[in-house]
C-alpha cells in the first residue's frame, strides 16, 4: 500500500497551479484534502506523474458571499464550511447534509470542492450541489467557466473537467427556505450512503434529490398533493433510476430504500415551518 513515485508540486498561487496543470494535463492530479485521492494512490488505482497540492493556497481558502450566492473556495475543508456562521440560515439543506459527510476527522482534511471533483454517486455534497442548482467554477489558461452541477457531474467518478482545468470554487444560490430535509441510509455512521434523499419544498411541488441509486445525483420535482401521489412518484423515480448491486445493497434494495425513506423526507420537509 505504497504509491508509485510521483512529482510533488506545491504551487504558490492559483496561476502557478494552472500553469502546472497546463504542463502536465491528465498526467497530473490535484491534491487538496487527499481523503479519497491518497487512498487511491496507495492502492495504486491511480499513478499520476505529478501531484499538484493546492491545499495551502490562501486565495482558495475562502468562503465569500456575492450576488445572492455563496462561493466556497477549493481549499475550504468540510468542517470549515460546517462551522461557517449563518450557514444554517442561508443554506439549511447544505447545513443538514454536511454532518453526514465522512467523519469529523476526515472532514478536517477533506474539502468541499474535492468531494465535488471526486464525483462519487453516493456523496452528499454533489447531491446538495445538484439539488440547489449550484455551479462549479473551473479555471485554466484558456479562461474561467462555470459549469452547472448537472452538467459537471457526468457519471460514476466522471466529470466534465478538462485535464487543464482547476476547480477553484463551487457556488451555490442562497436558498433560505427552511422547508428542507435530508436523510441517508448507510451501514455505519460516516460511511458513504447506500441511498441519500434530500427534499426541498417549492410552490406547488417538492424538489427531490437522490444519491446512491444512479451513477450520479438525480433531482426531480414531484407534485406534493397527497401521500399516494408522493408514493407513486417515488416509485416511478426508483424504477427510472434502477440502481446497482454491490456488497452492501442490491439494486432492488436501493429502490425500496427510496420508496420508504423518500416519503419520510418529503413529510419532514413539508412539516418544517417556512
Amino acid at each position: 500500500m505504497k504509491p508509485r513515485p510521483f512529482d510533488y508540486l506545491r504551487p504558490r498561487s492559483v496561476d502557478e497551479a494552472i500553469e502546472a496543470l497546463a504542463e502536465h494535463g491528465d498526467k497530473a492530479r490535484v491534491l487538496a484534502g487527499g481523503q479519497s485521492l491518497v487512498a487511491m494512490l496507495n492502492f495504486r488505482l491511480l499513478a499520476p506523474q505529478a501531484l499538484i497540492d493546492i491545499g495551502g493556497l490562501e486565495e482558495l481558502d475562502d468562503i465569500r458571499r456575492a450576488d445572492g450566492r455563496l462561493e466556497i473556495g477549493a481549499a475550504v475543508t468540510q468542517n470549515r464550511l460546517l462551522a461557517e456562521p449563518g450557514l444554517a440560515r442561508e443554506l439549511p439543506l447544505l447545513a443538514a447534509a454536511l454532518p453526514f459527510v465522512g467523519h469529523f476527522q476526515t472532514r478536517n482534511r477533506g474539502t468541499v470542492c474535492g468531494s465535488v471533483a471526486h464525483a462519487d454517486p453516493s456523496a452528499e455534497i454533489p447531491l446538495v450541489l445538484a439539488m440547489l442548482e449550484g455551479e462549479v467554477v473551473l479555471r485554466s489558461a484558456r479562461g474561467t467557466r462555470n459549469a452547472a452541477a448537472d452538467e459537471f457531474q457526468r457519471g460514476m467518478l466522471a466529470t466534465s473537467r478538462a485535464p487543464d482545468e482547476l476547480i477553484v470554487a463551487v457556488t451555490l444560490p442562497l436558498r433560505t427556505s427552511k422547508r428542507v430535509a435530508f436523510r441517508e441510509v448507510a451501514r455505519r455512521q460516516g460511511d458513504f450512503a447506500i441511498v441519500a434523499v434530500a427534499a426541498m419544498v417549492e410552490e406547488e411541488c417538492v424538489r427531490i434529490g437522490v444519491g446512491g441509486i444512479a451513477d450520479r445525483p438525480a433531482v426531480r420535482r414531484i407534485a406534493a398533493r397527497g401521500e399516494s401521489d408522493i408514493a407513486q412518484a417515488l416509485d416511478a423515480l426508483a424504477l427510472e433510476l434502477g440502481g446497482y448491486d454491490d456488497l452492501h445493497a442490491s439494486a432492488r434494495m436501493r429502490r425500496d430504500l427510496l420508496r420508504r425513506i423518500g416519503p419520510i423526507v418529503v413529510r419532514e420537509a413539508l412539516a418544517c415551518a417556512a
Partner: protein, 809 residues
C-alpha cells in the same frame, strides 16, 4: 494457603478484586507505546514486500523476477523454490500429505497467498519492483463453499490428499439413538456461521536476522502464541529451538487471536535474512491483513434435539462441516474441538452424538480468533433451543430453565468438568428487577405499531485455560495410544527482587492490550505487602532467556485461571522465603511474620519489623545471615499445571478446559421496516466468572467481546464470489462497527469461585463472542417469525427476507 474471599478483597489481599487502574495506560495515552514497528533496527535492514496471488487456484508456471532485480535498491526476490530448498513444511495436526510452506510452491490456492518476496532498501521500492515480477499462472477451477468442496468432482485443493475432507470423526456419548427413538419430538436447525475475523489496529510486524556465525535466527514479532508454534517454526527452519530466538515486544496493538498467524511470516523473514545476509523487516498492511492474514473458520452445522413435550432435551446431535480454507495451519482444526467436552453447553443432557468434518476450500486459511469455536457451536445450540420453543409453542426462557445444569461440579456428556456455577440463579438475577418485563413491554408496543421486534436469549458455558490435549481428540483412541498422551496446560511466571527491594515480574503472556501487567502487579503486591506501584512487570518474551512452555501465549482465556495462578504461586514462595529470612533476624517464628505497608514484621508485635528492602537486601549482600534452608536467590519461577486437564479418555471424553464460567444474555432487537436495519434496543449480559481479580478489566473484556459478537452478528464478513475472488479487502467492504454502531450494554455479575484455581478466578475474555451472535440471531428470528437466520444479518439480507413483491411503498 490462606482462604481468599469469594468476590472481593480481604484483609490479607487488599488489592484482589479491586478495580485497580491500568498501569499500562500512561505510556499508551502519551503515544509512548513500544510496538515492533517503533523499535530501532540495524541500518542495513532490508524491507520486504510480499507478492500475492490474484487467483483463487492456479498452477504457477513461471516466475520471472529479472526485471525487478534490475531495479535500483532491490536486493533479492525470493520464491517458493528458495523456501523449499531452505525449509521443511510446517507441521500440522492432521497427518495428511498437504505440505504447506511460507510461500506458495508450484500452485496457489487462495487469493492473497504469498507467491514471492521482494527485498529492497525501502517498502516503496519493493512495491514498485513487485509490479515488474512476471508470474505466469495457469488458472484452475476453484471451490469456495464447503459443501461444494465435499461434492464428487469438486476441484481438489491438494491433489496429494485425494479429497478436500481432511478429517471426519463421529462421537457417541450415552445412547443418543435410543433417546431420539423414545422422544416426544425431534427438532432440528441448520446454521451457517460466516467467515470473519476480529481485526487488530496494528497488523503483523516481523524483524528477523540470520546469524551465519552460529546458524541461528533471531526474530522479533508481535506473535501472541500459543508457543506450541515455536517448535513448528524451528522445525521448518531446520534448527533446534535454541537457534530460533523469538522475542515479543512491550506493546502490541490488539490481536484477538489473529497474531498467531504471523508465524509463517516469521519463518519467511528468517530465511529472507539468510538469503540476503541482512536483517529483514516486514510490516503487513491492511489490504494484506484483510485478504490473507487469517479468518475464523466458517461452519455449516445441523443441530438436532430429542425433546419431551415440555421441552426437556434428552439428547443432542451435531453435524458440523468446518471450512478451514486452503491449508490446515497449526493449531487447526482447534475450533472444531475446543468446545468438544462442553458440547452440551449449559444444559444437562446425557446423550450426545457429534460428527466433525474438516474441509478445505480455495479461501484464506483459518486461524485463531477470539471465541475459537464457541461462536460457531453456540449459534447452533442456542438457535436450536429457540427452535424447540417455537416448534413446541413454549417460552424459550422456560426451555432454557428446564434444561440448565443444576448441580456442581458437573461432568458433561463429552467429558468437560464444570467446576462451579449457579446457572439458575444467574438467569433469574439477569431477568430480575423488571429487566425482562420492561423489554417485553417494549416489544408489545413496537409490535402494536407494526414494527418487527424480537427478544433473544442465549445461555453459554465459557471455557477458560484450554487443555493442550484437546486437539488430539480428533485422532482415534488407537492413534492417541500410539502417539502417547497429550494433556495439561503449563503456566509460568517469575518474580525477582533486586538488592534494593524492587520487585520485577515476568510471565508467559505476550501483551495484546488486556492489562495483564496491572493484574500481575496486583497479585504480587498483595502477597508481598506492597503497592501496585512497587511492582514492575515486563511481558516482553524472549524464548532464549525467559521461562516458557508450549502453552504460553495470550489465548483461550488462560490468563486468569493460568498465568495469574503461576504469579500467585511464585509470589507466595518468595514471600515464604523472605519470611524465613526476616524471622531469623527478628527472632520470631516464621508463622508470625506478616507483610504489610512495605514492612516485614511480627504479627504479634508489629513494632518488631524490618523494611521490605532490608530483608531483600540481606539475600543479596549477606548470605551469611540466611537460615540454612533458604537459598540465596531472590528469583522464583513458578509453574502451574492443573491435574484436572487429563488426556482424552479411550472413549473420547475430554475435559477441554480447566474453568467453565457462565454467560446468560438476553436482548431486544427491532428491525426498521424502512431501512431493513436491525437495531439492538437493549442488551443485558450476566456473567459468572468466579472471583474477579480486577472487575474493571473484567468489564472491559466483556465490552470488547460484546462488540465483536455484535460485529459477527450484524456487520463483519469475509466475502468471496463463487470463483474465489475476494470482495471484502478494505474497511469500506469489511465493516467493523464503530462507537456509533454499538448500543449500550448492561453488565451483571454473580460469583461462583472456581474450586480448581487458587484465586477462584475463571477465564472470561470470550464469552460474549460466543453468546452475542446467537442471542441476536434468536431475537431476529423472533422479530420476523423465521426459522433460519443467516449472519451477519445485514440490511441486504434482511431486505431479501422482508421485501416481498416490488411495488410502491
Amino acid at each position: 494457603m490462606s482462604a481468599i474471599g469469594t468476590s472481593g478483597a480481604d484483609e490479607a489481599h487488599p488489592l484482589l478484586g479491586k478495580p485497580v487502574r491500568r498501569i499500562e495506560d500512561r505510556a499508551l495515552l502519551m503515544g509512548r507505546g513500544r510496538y515492533v514497528d517503533d523499535l530501532p533496527v540495524d541500518r542495513r535492514t532490508l524491507h520486504a514486500h510480499i507478492v500475492r496471488s490474484p487467483h483463487a487456484h492456479a498452477i504457477i508456471a513461471r516466475i520471472d523476477a529479472a526485471p525487478a532485480l534490475a531495479c535500483a535498491g532491490i536486493h533479492a526476490v525470493i520464491t517458493g523454490e528458495d523456501v523449499r530448498r531452505l525449509t521443511d513444511p510446517f507441521l500440522v495436526a492432521v497427518k495428511e500429505r498437504i505440505p504447506q510452506w511460507a510461500l506458495a510452491v508450484g500452485r496457489v490456492r487462495y487469493v492473497g497467498e504469498p507467491v514471492a518476496l521482494v527485498l529492497a532498501d525501502n517498502r516503496y521500492l519493493a512495491e514498485d519492483a513487485a509490479e515488474l515480477i512476471a508470474v505466469e499462472y495457469e488458472p484452475l477451477p476453484a471451490v469456495v463453499d464447503a459443501r461444494a468442496a465435499l461434492a464428487t468432482g469438486a476441484p481438489l485443493i491438494h491433489e496429494e490428499a485425494g479429497t478436500n475432507e481432511l478429517s471426519v470423526r463421529r462421537f457417541i456419548y450415552g445412547d443418543p439413538d435410543g433417546a431420539f427413538a423414545a422422544a416426544d419430538a425431534r427438532v432440528s436447525t441448520d446454521i451457517a456461521y460466516p467467515r470473519n475475523s476480529f481485526t487488530p489496529i496494528e497488523c503483523f510486524v516481523v524483524v528477523a536476522e540470520y546469524d551465519i556465525a552460529d546458524d541461528s535466527y533471531d526474530a522479533i514479532a508481535n506473535f501472541q502464541g500459543p508457543f506450541s508454534i515455536h517448535p513448528v517454526m524451528a522445525r521448518a527452519l531446520r534448527v533446534p529451538g535454541t537457534r530460533l530466538r523469538l522475542r515479543t515486544p512491550a506493546d502490541s496493538g490488539g490481536s484477538f487471536g489473529t497474531k498467531l498467524a504471523v508465524f509463517p511470516h516469521i519463518v519467511l523473514m528468517c530465511i529472507a535474512s539468510r538469503i540476503a545476509g541482512r536483517p529483514v523487516k516486514w510490516v503487513e498492511d491492511r489490504l494484506e491483513h484483510l485478504q490473507a492474514a487469517s479468518t475464523g473458520p466458517a461452519r455449516i452445522a445441523t443441530a438436532e434435539a430429542a425433546v419431551t413435550r415440555e421441552g426437556r432435551i434428552l439428547a443432542l446431535r451435531f453435524d458440523a462441516i468446518e471450512d478451514y480454507g486452503a491449508f490446515l495451519r497449526a493449531p487447526m482444526p482447534g475450533p472444531l474441538y475446543r468446545m468438544h467436552g462442553a458440547s452440551t453447553g449449559a444444559y444437562d443432557v446425557a446423550h450426545l452424538a457429534v460428527t466433525n468434518r474438516v474441509v478445505l476450500t480455495n479461501t484464506m486459511p483459518a486461524g485463531l480468533i477470539r471465541g475459537f469455536g464457541g461462536p460457531q457451536h453456540y449459534l447452533a445450540l442456542e438457535r436450536l433451543v429457540q427452535r424447540i420453543a417455537a416448534e413446541l409453542n413454549l417460552d424459550p426462557l422456560d426451555v432454557i430453565r428446564r434444561n440448565l445444569v443444576r448441580d456442581f461440579p458437573y461432568r458433561a456428556a463429552a467429558g468437560a468438568l464444570y467446576d462451579s456455577g449457579d446457572y439458575a440463579r444467574a438467569v433469574e438475577t439477569a431477568i430480575g428487577d423488571g429487566r425482562l418485563a420492561s423489554l417485553r413491554q417494549r416489544q408489545k408496543e413496537a409490535r402494536a405499531a407494526g414494527r418487527p421486534f424480537g427478544i433473544g436469549f442465549a445461555a453459554v458455558v465459557e471455557p477458560g485455560l484450554s487443555n493442550m490435549g484437546y486437539l488430539s481428540t480428533l485422532l482415534t483412541a488407537e492413534a492417541r495410544e500410539r502417539a502417547g498422551p497429550k494433556n495439561g496446560a503449563v503456566s509460568l511466571a517469575t518474580v525477582a527482587i533486586d538488592p534494593l527491594g524492587a520487585v520485577a515480574v515476568s510471565a508467559d503472556v505476550p501483551v495484546e492490550g488486556q492489562g495483564h501487567a496491572t493484574v500481575l502487579a496486583q497479585i504480587v503486591a498483595d502477597e508481598l505487602g506492597l503497592s501496585v506501584e512497587d511492582v514492575r512487570v515486563n511481558l516482553e518474551i524472549d524464548t532464549a532467556k525467559d521461562a516458557w512452555s508450549i502453552a504460553s501465549g495470550t489465548y483461550s482465556s488462560r490468563f486468569a485461571p493460568g498465568t495469574a495462578v503461576a504469579a500467585h504461586l511464585a509470589a507466595r514462595r518468595m514471600r515464604d522465603r523472605l519470611a524465613a529470612i526476616a524471622a531469623k533476624q527478628l527472632n520470631v517464628l516464621r508463622d508470625d511474620i506478616e507483610f504489610a505497608g512495605g514492612k516485614v514484621r511480627s504479627r504479634g508485635n508489629p513494632d518488631n519489623a524490618l523494611s521490605f528492602a532490608r530483608v531483600a537486601g540481606t539475600a543479596h549482600w549477606s548470605p551469611v545471615l540466611l537460615p540454612d534452608d533458604v537459598p540465596p536467590s531472590l528469583r522464583e519461577t513458578a509453574s502451574w499445571s492443573p491435574p484436572e486437564l487429563e488426556p482424552p479418555s479411550p472413549d473420547d471424553r475430554i475435559n477441554t478446559s480447566l474453568t467453565y464460567g457462565f454467560v446468560f444474555d438476553f436482548c431486544g432487537v427491532e428491525i426498521d421496516p424502512a431501512t431493513f436495519t436491525a437495531r439492538v434496543d437493549r442488551y443485558v449480559t450476566m456473567h459468572d466468572a468466579g472471583r474477579l481479580i480486577n472487575p474493571m478489566l473484567a468489564d472491559g473484556q466483556v465490552r470488547g467481546a460484546f462488540v465483536q459478537g455484535l460485529a459477527a452478528a450484524l456487520f463483519e464478513e469475509f466475502v468471496y464470489d463463487e470463483n474465489g475472488a475476494f470482495l471484502s479487502g478494505t474497511f469500506a467492504d469489511y465493516l467493523v462497527p464503530t462507537a456509533s454502531e454499538v448500543p449500550p450494554l448492561e453488565i451483571l455479575h454473580i460469583h461462583s469461585p472456581s474450586p480448581l484455581t487458587p484465586l477462584g478466578a475463571k477465564g472470561l475474555a470470550e464469552g460474549n463472542c460466543m453468546s452475542v451472535p446467537a442471542c441476536i440471531a434468536n431475537a431476529i428470528a423472533d422479530a420476523l417469525g423465521i426459522a433460519d437466520v443467516n449472519l451477519p444479518a445485514t440490511p441486504k439480507r434482511l431486505h431479501a427476507l422482508m421485501a416481498g413483491p416490488e411495488r410502491p411503498a
